[in-house]
Symmetry: C2
Subunit: 346 residues, 2 copies
C-alpha cells in the first residue's frame, strides 16, 4: 500500500521496491530519462523492464511481464517514460490494469492522475495495489518552525532549473558513503523519489507548508550524519523561486553546493530572464539561507560540462574555481575529492 507515514518527522512518500520499469514505446533515451535515472542511481531497486512493441531503447535489464515480475518479488510497476505532454495515453490502460491485477503498486510521475485510468481504481481496490501519483499534491504538512535540528545538511541550489541539482546531490551522497560518512539523499522531485523510493514532491505542497515540508523531509539525525537534499527550481526563476526559498529555509543547510550550466545564457524557456552571475547567485543563496542557519557555507560549484570537450571542461572548471574561490567540479566527469573536503571541513 502507499505509505505516507505519520509521525517520525517524515510524512514522505515511500515506494515499494523492487521495480518493474515500464518503458512504453519510447523512441529514444531522452523520452525515458526517468527509467535511465532510476537504473543508473538505484540499480539494486531495478528487477526488470517491460517494453511495448516499437520501443527503441533498453535498460539492459531482464524483460518481464507484470505477472512474472510479481512472481519474482517486484513491488511496483514504475512508469519510467514521459510521452509528450506528460499525459498517460489511453492505450496504456490495459497494461496498468494488468500490473495492478498482478498486485504491483503502480507508480507514476505523470500529470494524469492514475485514478482517471479506466477501471484501474476498481482493480487496485480489489487487489490492494496502491496507485501512487508521485507528482500529486500533498497537503498534510505543518507550517515551518525554524527549530534547528541535529545532524548536518547539504542542499544543492542552482542558477536555473534542470542543470544538475539532483545528480549532484546523488553523486555527493554516494561519495560521502563511499568514504564512510553516513549520508542520506533526500528526494524533493518525482524522479528523485523514484530513485530512492521515498521523498516529498516539494513543488506540489501547499505554499504555506513548503518550509514545514522541508523540515519534515530531513528530521533530527545523529551528529555526524549528512542529509544531502535535492534542490528545486532557482531563486532567479520567475515562476519557481517560491519553492526554492521555502525548501532553502526549511532545509536549514549547513552547506550549499551551487549548480550551474556555463552554456546557459538565460533561464530555460524564459528568454527574457538572464541566468545570474555565479558570484551574485552564491551571495543571494547564502544571504537567504542565513535566516534559518547563520553558519551556512558555500562548499563548491557543480558545473554541468556535458557539452565541453576534455580541454574545455578543464578550462571552465579552473576558471570558475579561480573566480569563486571554492572547489569546482562536474559530478559526472571529475573527482569529488576537493568539494567533499570542503563539505566536511569543520
Amino acid at each position: 500500500m502507499m505509505t505516507a507515514a505519520e509521525g517520525d518527522g517524515a510524512r514522505s512518500l515511500t515506494l515499494r521496491t523492487p521495480y518493474l520499469l515500464f518503458l512504453g514505446d519510447a523512441p529514444s533515451e531522452a523520452h525515458a530519462k526517468t527509467a535511465f535515472g532510476i537504473r543508473d542511481w538505484a540499480r539494486p531497486a531495478c528487477l526488470a523492464q517491460m517494453r511495448l512493441p516499437g520501443c527503441q531503447v533498453s535498460l539492459g535489464l531482464p524483460e518481464l511481464t507484470p505477472e512474472s515480475a510479481a512472481d519474482a518479488g517486484a513491488g511496483s510497476f514504475v512508469i519510467g517514460v514521459a510521452p509528450a505532454g506528460g499525459r498517460i495515453p489511453e492505450s496504456w490502460a490495459p497494461i496498468l490494469r494488468r500490473a495492478a491485477e498482478a498486485g504491483l503498486d503502480v507508480v507514476s510521475g505523470m500529470h494524469t492522475p492514475l485514478a482517471e485510468i479506466a477501471g484501474l481504481e476498481e482493480v487496485s481496490r480489489r487487489t490492494g495495489a496502491a496507485l501512487v501519483n508521485v507528482r500529486a499534491p500533498v497537503n498534510r504538512f505543518e507550517v515551518g518552525t525554524g527549530r534547528r535540528r541535529t545532524g548536518k545538511r547539504l542542499l544543492t541550489v542552482g542558477t536555473d532549473c534542470a542543470l544538475g541539482k539532483k545528480y549532484t546531490a546523488l553523486a555527493l551522497a554516494r561519495e560521502l558513503r563511499n568514504r564512510g560518512v553516513e549520508a542520506t539523499f533526500r528526494a524533493t522531485g518525482q524522479t528523485g523519489i523514484m530513485i530512492v523510493g521515498s521523498g516529498i514532491a516539494i513543488d506540489a505542497v501547499i505554499a504555506d507548508f513548503v518550509a514545514g515540508a522541508a523540515e519534515a523531509l530531513s528530521p533530527d539525525a545523529p551528529a555526524g550524519h549528512w542529509d544531502v537534499i535535492e534542490g528545486q527550481g532557482s531563486l532567479f526563476h520567475p515562476a519557481y523561486a517560491a519553492v526554492t526559498l521555502g525548501l532553502l529555509h526549511g532545509s536549514q543547510p549547513d552547506v550549499l553546493v551551487l549548480c550551474h550550466d556555463p552554456t546557459r545564457t538565460h533561464i530555460k524557456s524564459f528568454p527574457d530572464f538572464r541566468t545570474p552571475d555565479l558570484r551574485v547567485a552564491a551571495d543571494r543563496y547564502l544571504e537567504a539561507a542565513r535566516l534559518t542557519n547563520p553558519g551556512v557555507r558555500l562548499a563548491g560549484i557543480s558545473l554541468n560540462t556535458s557539452s565541453f570537450d576534455a580541454a574545455g571542461r578543464e578550462r571552465v572548471l579552473a576558471e570558475t574555481q579561480d573566480r569563486l574561490d571554492v572547489p569546482c567540479f562536474d559530478p559526472l566527469k571529475t573527482s569529488l575529492g576537493d568539494v567533499l573536503r570542503a563539505v566536511l571541513a569543520p
Copy 2:
C-alpha cells in the same frame, strides 16, 4: 453559486454580496476582527448582523435572521468570528443549515471545511446555496510566465506577518480612488477576500503555482490603473517566506510599500528570529522584486503606531522617515498625501 471564473486572467474567488455578518457569541471585538474589518472597509456590502445569545459585541448593523436577510436581498452568510482554534463549533450547525436553507451562500475562513458540518451539503445541494471555504486550497492556476503586464502595481510587504499589510493596501487603494486615480485592492488572504468579495488565498495555492496565481490576480489593466495588492507573510519569516517571494515575483510591483511595527523585536511567535532592520528589509525586497520588474521603487514605509501616544507617533514617524529617506506614515492615523505623491511620481 461559488464562482471561480475561468479566463479573463482572474481565476479568483468571487463572493455574493450583500452580507449577513455572523458574530456568534463573540466575547470581544478581538474575536470578531473579521466582521469588524468587513464593516470598516466594505460598509456598502454589509446588510445586517446576526448574533447568538451571549455575544458581547455589535457592529451597529440591523439584526436579521437568515430568512429575513434573504428576503431583504442578502447574498451570503459570512462567518465573521473566529473561536479559539479556528474551528467551527458543533453548536453552529443549525444556524449554518438555516442560512443555506434560506438560500444564502455560506462563507467561511475557518479551518473546518464547511462540507464537514452535518447536513449542510445536503441543504446546499437542494437550495443552490454555495459553501465557500475562503481558506481552502485552490490549485487551478498556471505556472508563472514572467510576462510584463499593462497597468501599474503596488504591493505591500512587511518585516513580519500581522502588522498592517492588508489595512495599508486598503487605505492606499481607497485614497487613490478619492483622488481620482483608478485603483483596485487585490485581496490575497481570507479577510481581504471577504472585504472586497473576491481574491485568491495565495498561501493556499500549490507552491509551484504561487507566482502564476499572483499573475492571474492582477491581470493586464489600463495604463493609468493601479492594482494595490495585499502582501502576505515576510521574506524574513522562517515558515512563510516562500509565499511572500512567489507573490512578489508574480505581482511584478512597480512600487513597494514596506510595513513595520516598531515595537516588534522578533517575528511573531518565533522568538528566535529577530525582525530585520528596516533598511536591510527594504533592500532585500527591492533586490528580489527586480527579478520580474527591474524598475521597482520603494515609495514609503507604513508604521503600525497603535501603541504610541501622539508625541511618540510623531517622533517614530519622523525618525524613520529621516533614516529611510522615503515618506513614512500610519495608514490609520496620519495623512497619506506624501506616500501617494511618491507612489504616483513618474
